[in-house]
Symmetry: C2
């Protein structure tokens, strides 16, 4: 008899579970020592709440009906539910809020992409600390948590979630073309991007910027080579952030990446992605989302990072194997 | 702006979450020290898998469609998914299997019943140990875990999941009336039970047995007063189990309850429910389910108990308040 389980989900048996549990505890302990308090939100949200956070978040979710015919969805991440909690039950809290979570989320992903539909995230949200101060705290803490988990060679890619969108607007690329170009970038499909940009028939300078800027990746020299131009504001923010990360002593872990985009649209500034050379996929990511909590009625600057615990576990094992 | 969350779910903020997390860890540590290894199964199962375990389990679940039109459901408990895992990935394991879990499950419950639809359970499943040996291990371990969590006055109700069903069959109550009578018992609606039994127009002895037997509740005298008759086999099993619990030194925590029924139908023998005098609801329950794993293709005797972590937390607080 075969009793299948849904694609993208797994059963975890005791030997692996013991390690995952220990890893999750280690990450959470690091976050709690830094003053982040754990929260839990329901696995199921009204679809309308997810849409308030991000149209595409609702699209990415498993949906069902409740007994009154309202549409419910499995949460596709913890950031939108936590934004809801901050804007409702924690709206009177003064000063910065430091929240963390260790919880599963669910996304509808394509068949045979090998991607998990059910994934365990351990993450942090820092609310009420604007600009590079917030970003440095979040990035540094995520790096420390990974170090506490035994990783040694992990890196953080740092980009800006608004950079390419602003470039598209400034260079007057028609709005209905933005999504496909951003999707190329999300897939890191630079050939596809170039083909589509060429098809726009732009002036040489604009074309080179749209194709060339997102290829820039590396150390601080990247920010010099990028110059200024239409993406100047985002680039200036990245310079400030890089200097702050340098001052904090973590610049050796940072890879500046002007082509970085995240698939959820609520990011308004810096975005992050975590890598380890031992594995070929991102261990997590996040960024600044200064508008998201406001959509739920209480404007507050915020940023956060989520780590995919199962992926960090794979990186942990791969790192150990290479020692 | 109001951003509702689904009925029967809750947001948990850091102060409470810290306590719930500590409680969950305490329970899990007790289970792991006793040799129980934690497992995780997907939050979402094919409805067909749940139905294989128990028709009513599938009815009790939130359902949705996957991208190929198959019906998925949120798991209504962890026992059925674990039975699936045991019969598939662990079917070669020799000797008893000791598995534990700490996971949320979901049930569609009525509006305004105050019941949680999303609940966190910490539980154990003991596979491959038949009869009272298995039941004593499971009951004793659950009682110890609650003691480790700081409860002092908790009790376990012990009954038999097949007792009333066999009584109904033996007394030739028409099959289409069984469900409503069992539902009265589940609700502890003894007046409703009596009315419905009277309406059956049975002989005096049969009527008295159906109304009187489930009222018996207390110490070992209950088993004497019950005599034998059509429920003899179940009563004999309860006598053996009680003697074994006495030998293990936990009889003072046991309340024999001949009217105990559990709402899921897969129990084949002893059933348990955990109480604390400080609170008015069961903290958890379980029982023996010797047929369930076989429905997935690998017959093995098994029993287990699940504790509702949020309810245990309420009892913990109430107990502390009374000291």
């Amino acid at each position: 008899m075969i009793h299948p389980i849904p694609a993208g989900t797994r059963d975890v048996l005791p030997d692996e579970m013991r390690e995952l549990r220990a890893l999750g505890e280690r990450l959470r302990a690091t976050f709690e020592q830094a003053g982040y308090g754990e929260v839990w939100t329901p696995m199921v949200e009204y679809e309308q709440v997810l849409r308030t956070g991000d149209e595409r978040a609702a699209d990415a979710a498993y949906r069902m009906f409740d007994d009154q015919g309202r549409v419910l969805a499995l949460r596709p991440d913890m950031t939108i539910p936590i934004a809801r909690v901050v804007a409702t039950r924690l709206s009177d809290a003064e000063g910065p809020l430091r929240l963390c979570y260790s919880a599963h989320s669910y996304r509808v992903v394509g068949q045979r992409t090998g991607q998990q539909r059910e994934f365990l995230q351990s993450g942090i949200e820092l609310i009420g600390v604007p600009g590079e101060d917030g970003e440095v705290e979040v990035v540094t803490l995520a790096l420390s948590a990974l170090e506490a988990a035994g990783l040694a060679r992990h890196r953080v890619g740092v980009g800006d979630g608004s950079l390419y969108r602003r470039l598209l607007t400034a260079l007057e690329v028609p709005g209905d073309r933005h999504r496909e170009l951003l999707e190329c970038l999300t897939r890191r499909d630079m050939v596809g991007l170039e083909l589509r940009v060429d098809a726009l028939g732009l002036a040489r300078d604009a074309r080179d910027l749209l194709v060339g800027l997102p290829e820039l990746r590396g150390g601080p020299e990247v920010l010099e080579r990028a110059g200024d131009g239409p993406a100047g504001e985002a680039l200036e923010r990245l310079r400030t952030l890089y200097a702050a990360l340098e001052a904090r002593g973590v610049a050796d872990r940072v890879i500046l990446d002007l082509g970085l985009v995240r698939d959820l649209g609520y990011y308004t500034g810096a975005i992050f992605e975590i890598y380890d050379p031992a594995v070929g996929f991102a261990l997590g990511g996040g960024g600044r989302y200064d508008d998201l909590i406001g959509r739920f009625g209480a404007e507050r600057p915020a940023c956060g990072i989520a780590l995919d615990v199962q992926r960090v576990h794979v990186a942990q094992a791969a790192e150990e194997g290479q020692r």
